[in-house]
């Protein structure tokens, strides 16, 4: 069966080959790999980009394949980041606190340790109590479970409400945007239990590996991200390869027809919505340890809009299109906004790309929507069709 799956989907094989080649190249060229052409921070950028590609693939499945323009998937991404961030921050603070308490004459009690950690983490929002949602923060296993469970449950409940009442199209998009905004506003509060707009920080320090250089850690996370992207890609390609793919695309193209064929459209949408939310959460959990910091601004509705932009530019309805879109646009973004692009001197005005990149992005997005609805991925069709 696996053989036939690959045989029917040669693009999966090509993608995995390309990803492996890229991964190998980066590892060899990194500081940890010895050649040290790529700086650690650039390896991190690449690792983060892979995570963004993964969520873009999820977005493509829910939008490009199932026709639900969700403006909420970055919220799930953020939740995944918060879930892992809680453990990272707790465990690291615990290490620091234990070190400082070790110099005391008598050993600390568990209560004293917990108070000290709470003080460290929540002092910034004027509190030292541990909120209920941190109940499992000391357990890596449970927080990893949260990475999957919280986005999954949220998507399940929200999706059930939305699909049940047959909210579709533009309305659904706006509803998902409202959900994202509600979550962001909630997190912005100081008493949300997640440090308000300070967010969680110091996530690049992995507890237990304090002495490992960041160069090595960055490569480990890069590899993990590459693996997650590859696995996620294959998973979605497999999910959509057979009859499931037919039904899901059928829902996108003609929901009523699928319903009259006897399929319960709502449960399919719910499944796709929830599964992609979970993958988004996993992508977030890999992204933020590389980014080092997460705050509610990351969840703001605009982030999910950018996600849609990547997928649209890359080409909807094909998984590699989403990967290309996310990689190209987000890398270009960091190149332009990071001062990598040379300024253009017009004589009377100098175009600084740090300022003008977003204008360019916005307008090119309009152009893509108007003139190239198939995005960059559409070029492949063109090439493939030309050959025979």
């Amino acid at each position: 069966m696996r053989k036939s799956f690959i045989a029917e989907n040669p693009s999966v094989l090509w993608f995995l080959l390309a990803l492996s080649g890229f991964t190998l190249g980066v590892v060899v060229l990194s500081e940890a790999g010895g050649v040290a052409v790529l700086s650690t921070s650039f390896v991190k950028t690449l690792g983060k980009t892979l995570c963004l590609c993964l969520i873009a693939v999820a977005m493509d499945v829910v939008w490009g394949y199932c026709g639900i323009l969700s403006l909420g998937h970055f919220a799930f991404f953020g939740i995944g980041g918060y879930a892992i961030g809680m453990w990272l921050m707790y465990a690291r603070t615990e290490t620091i606190v234990l070190e400082s308490l070790a110099s005391q004459v008598i050993p600390p009690t568990p209560q004293e340790i917990s108070d000290a950690i709470g003080n460290q983490i929540f002092g910034v929002v004027g509190s030292s109590e541990f909120p209920a949602i941190w109940a499992f923060a000391d357990s890596l296993f449970l927080q990893l479970a949260m990475v999957v469970l919280v986005p999954g449950l949220l998507a399940l409940v929200f999706g059930w409400l939305a699909f049940r009442s047959r909210v579709t199209g533009v309305y659904l998009s706006i509803l998902t945007q409202a959900m994202t905004l509600a979550l962001a506003l909630y997190l912005f509060q100081n008493d949300s239990g997640l440090r308000g707009n300070n967010g969680l920080s110091g996530l690049q320090n992995i507890p237990g590996f304090e002495s490992t250089p960041q160069a090595t850690i960055s490569i480990v996370f890069f590899l993990a991200s590459a693996f997650a992207l590859g696995a996620g890609y294959v998973f979605f390609a497999w999910l959509l390869s057979g009859k499931m793919g037919s039904v899901v695309k059928g829902i996108r193209d003609n929901e009523a027809r699928v319903r009259f064929l006897g399929y319960n459209v709502e449960s399919y949408k719910l499944l796709i919505f929830t599964v992609t939310a979970i993958i988004s959460g996993i992508a977030g959990a890999l992204y933020y340890p590389q980014a080092g910091i997460i705050n509610p601004g990351e969840i703001a509705p605009i982030a999910s809009i950018y996600l849609a932009v990547w997928v649209a530019i890359g080409g909807r309805g094909r998984l590699y299109g989403a990967v290309i879109g996310a990689a190209v646009v987000s890398l270009l973004s960091s190149w332009f906004t990071g001062g990598g692009a040379p300024d253009i001197n017009l004589g009377f005005y100098t175009i600084q790309w740090t300022d003008w990149w977003l204008v360019l992005l916005g307008l090119s997005f309009v152009a893509v929507t108007l003139f190239f609805p198939k995005g960059i991925g559409g070029l492949f069709d063109y090439l493939v069709r030309k050959q025979p």
Binding site: L69, Q104, V105, I106, P107, P108, T109, P110, Q111, E112, F158, L161, A162, R164, S165, R166, V167, G169, V170, Y171, S173, I174, L175, Q177, A178, M179, L181, A182, L183, L185, Y186, F188, Q189, D191, P301, I302, I305, A308, V309, A312, D355, W356, W357, L358, V359, L360, L361, G362, L363, S364, F365, V366, T369, L370, P373
Partner: protein
């Protein structure tokens, strides 16, 4: 007695000028020279009474100068008004007003102490209450309002009837009630005054009642004494109550976790505390054991056990006692305060409703343009928020050129409309037109425009907030009572929303354009068959909707900050307004805006400190609301609603 005397005097003061010639002030002062030179808080009252009783002229001026340390005593014992200039004094005769100079030597300045000055001040106020100058009377009345005291009651009462100014008289009457409630001699008088306050929601009246009801906490081993306000239940928070016992010296302090650690740290020897090895001290149980060992050895204070604590608490009663001893008075005050608080709550509800109304106006202004384009063309314009922003920046730029805020606003409103109208038409022609019947694509393309416009604004105007100053006549607030007030700017926005509602209804119902717009909304195909150019209507509608956004931007900019991101703050709310209200319907948008405005204020009322939480809950509510009314509050029925 003294008070009555004074009152009588004050009453007669303006009408019956005494035989001034009979005695001049200097002579009178000389008779009381000792007390005046060295007044004490106790003696000065009698002196003042004597002075006042004489009815001599110029006394108020003297009292004022005395109180301000402006009276000097000469070597001959005469009093002068004096002003020191270096070593010399400029002297003014108290009776004649003749001015002379003198060397400072030999003169002593009278420096009454604070207590004395207060007594002088009180007497002075009594004079001022009947002063012919209304300004002085007013300031005297306000002085009483600021620091009321018992002895002011009678002179105040006495001065009412002869006051020619109705405003001051009313204020005096009000203050008399306040003072009688607190200081009247008979209980009945006080209760009557208190009862008359039960309809007064002013902060002052409430503070009078609260002052009457002021309490202090007491702890007793026996029965509570005096006018008991409430007894407290120590079991609610035993530690806190025990701490009060400790604070009163009635019990021994509990040993805290910190105390234990400090004691243990101080008593480590040979790696042990008592018999417990230090390494084991990482649990509360072990620490307690070690501490008990120390306590048994008498080296640290013993534990106060929980049982001992509870026994101590049981042996004592905690209660609040009114400072006012008469329970009839406090009962009346309590009843009056309850009634006042009910009224205050009612007024607060009204205030909240006004607040909600102005918020609803803003949402209406922000959303109506969107509703029009959405309704007529089925197009979602994500750049609508950026049009709001453009309007606000237009206002800002106009103010750079036109310094007069009133004129600049009047210029900015039409200019903002024109600019955003143009922007809307351009966008419709270049982008939207090509994407009809592809609503999700329109959503995306307008995202792109929104991103570009936002960054463009950032490039031009920078990231910091720009001011859009409202004209002076919009500053301040319309104060209806101490509880209900509403700023003029919000009233202006409310009026603007009403004007726009009227304008939009007028355009839609009474103009040729409106007729054609409605025809296209209801049946685009048939409208075209009637010769209506759908492209022109779409273009104009889009322009009109965008233009309104521009005007909304000016209005919002007046009370909120103008930033490149302000559009994003309103866009989701605007969509919610349209979706909740029902698409393509002015009244629906109005209903949606009202619902969201009132809802948000309502939630804020439960949790006033946190507007973010209010917004979160509001959005959750809306998500649930759409479950039950997916087509919004005002859902069009039948053909017009199809698709």
């Amino acid at each position: 007695m003294r008070r009555l005397c004074l009152a009588l005097f004050v009453l007669l003061w303006p009408i019956a000028p005494h035989d001034a010639a009979a005695q001049d002030l200097q002579a009178l002062l000389q008779q009381n020279a000792d007390e005046i030179t060295k007044p004490s808080r106790r003696s000065v009252g009698e002196v003042l009474e004597r002075l006042a009783a004489s009815g001599v002229q110029g006394l108020p001026v003297f009292l004022e100068r005395w109180s301000d340390k402006g009276v000097w005593k000469g070597p001959d014992g005469l009093f002068f008004f004096g002003e020191a200039e270096g070593d010399t004094l400029q002297l003014t005769d108290i009776d004649t007003g003749a001015v002379s100079g003198a060397d400072k030597d030999g003169f002593t300045q009278l420096k009454p102490n604070g207590g004395v000055r207060r007594v002088i001040g009180t007497t002075l106020v009594q004079f001022q209450l009947s002063d012919p100058d209304p300004e002085r009377r007013r300031s005297a009345v306000e002085a009483i309002g600021r620091s009321p005291s018992a002895e002011q009651l009678e002179p105040l009462q006495a001065s009412i009837d002869n006051d020619p100014d109705p405003v001051i008289r009313a204020r005096k009457e009000q203050l008399v009630v306040f003072l009688s409630a607190q200081f009247a001699d008979s209980t009945d008088e006080r209760i009557a005054a208190i009862q008359s306050l039960s309809a007064d929601t002013s902060v002052e009246a409430r503070s009078v009642l609260n002052r009457i009801l002021s309490t202090r906490s007491f702890i007793t081993a026996g029965e509570p004494e005096g006018n008991v306000a409430a007894t407290e239940d120590a079991s609610e928070d035993p530690e806190a109550f025990y701490a009060r016992l400790v604070g009163e010296g009635l019990a021994q302090a509990r040993v805290s976790a910190d105390d234990i650690r400090a004691a243990l740290e101080a008593n480590v020897s040979d790696g042990r505390v008592g018999t417990v090895p230090v390494a084991q001290l990482g649990t509360d149980a072990a620490r307690e054991r070690a501490y008990t060992g120390l306590a048994d050895a008498g080296r640290v204070p013993p534990f106060v056990t929980t049982a001992a604590r509870d026994a101590a608490l049981a042996a004592h009663r905690f209660y609040d006692r009114y400072d006012e001893t008469d329970s009839k008075v406090t009962d009346a005050a309590r009843a009056a305060l309850t009634s006042v608080e009910q009224r205050v709550a009612f007024a607060q509800t009204a205030d909240l409703a006004l607040d909600a109304l102005s918020l609803a106006s803003i949402y209406f202004l922000a959303a109506i343009g969107l509703a029009i384009t959405f309704g007529v063309m089925g197009v979602i314009n994500m750049a609508h928020g950026e049009f709001i922003m453009m309007g606000a920046y237009t206002g800002y730029v106009v103010q750079l050129f036109i310094p007069d805020y009133t004129i600049s606003i009047l210029v900015a409103l039409p200019l903002a409309f024109a600019l955003t109208f143009g922007a809307g038409v351009t966008m419709e022609r270049l982008v939207i037109r090509h994407l009809y019947h592809r609503p999700l694509e329109t959503l995306l393309a307008t995202f792109g425009i929104s991103i570009a416009l936002q960054q463009l604004a950032k490039n031009i105007f920078g990231t910091q907030a720009r001011p859009l100053t409202s004209p002076g006549w919009l500053d301040g607030a319309w104060i209806i009572s101490d509880v209900i007030q509403i700023s003029y700017i919000r009233i202006a926005i409310f009026v603007l929303a009403l004007v726009f509602l009227a304008l939009i209804l007028f355009v839609l119902k009474k103009t040729r354009l409106g007729l054609e717009v409605r025809a296209v909304t209801q049946n685009p195909g048939m409208a075209a068959s009637m010769g209506i150019n759908p492209e022109r209507i779409n273009m104009l509608t889009f322009g009109f909707g965008s233009g309104i956004a521009g005007i909304a931007g000016v209005a919002i900019g007046l009370y909120a900050k103008v930033t490149s991101e302000m559009g994003a703050d309103y866009i989701v709310q605007s969509f919610m307004t349209v979706v909740v209200g029902g698409v393509g319907n002015v009244w629906g948008t109005l209903a949606g805006a009202s619902l969201i405005g009132f809802l948000q204020k309502g939630i804020e009322w439960f949790n006033p400190a946190n507007t973010l939480a209010a917004q979160t809950y509001m959005i959750l509510f809306i998500i649930l609301f759409i479950q039950f009314r997916p087509r919004g509050i005002v859902a069009l029925k039948g053909r017009a609603a199809a698709d």
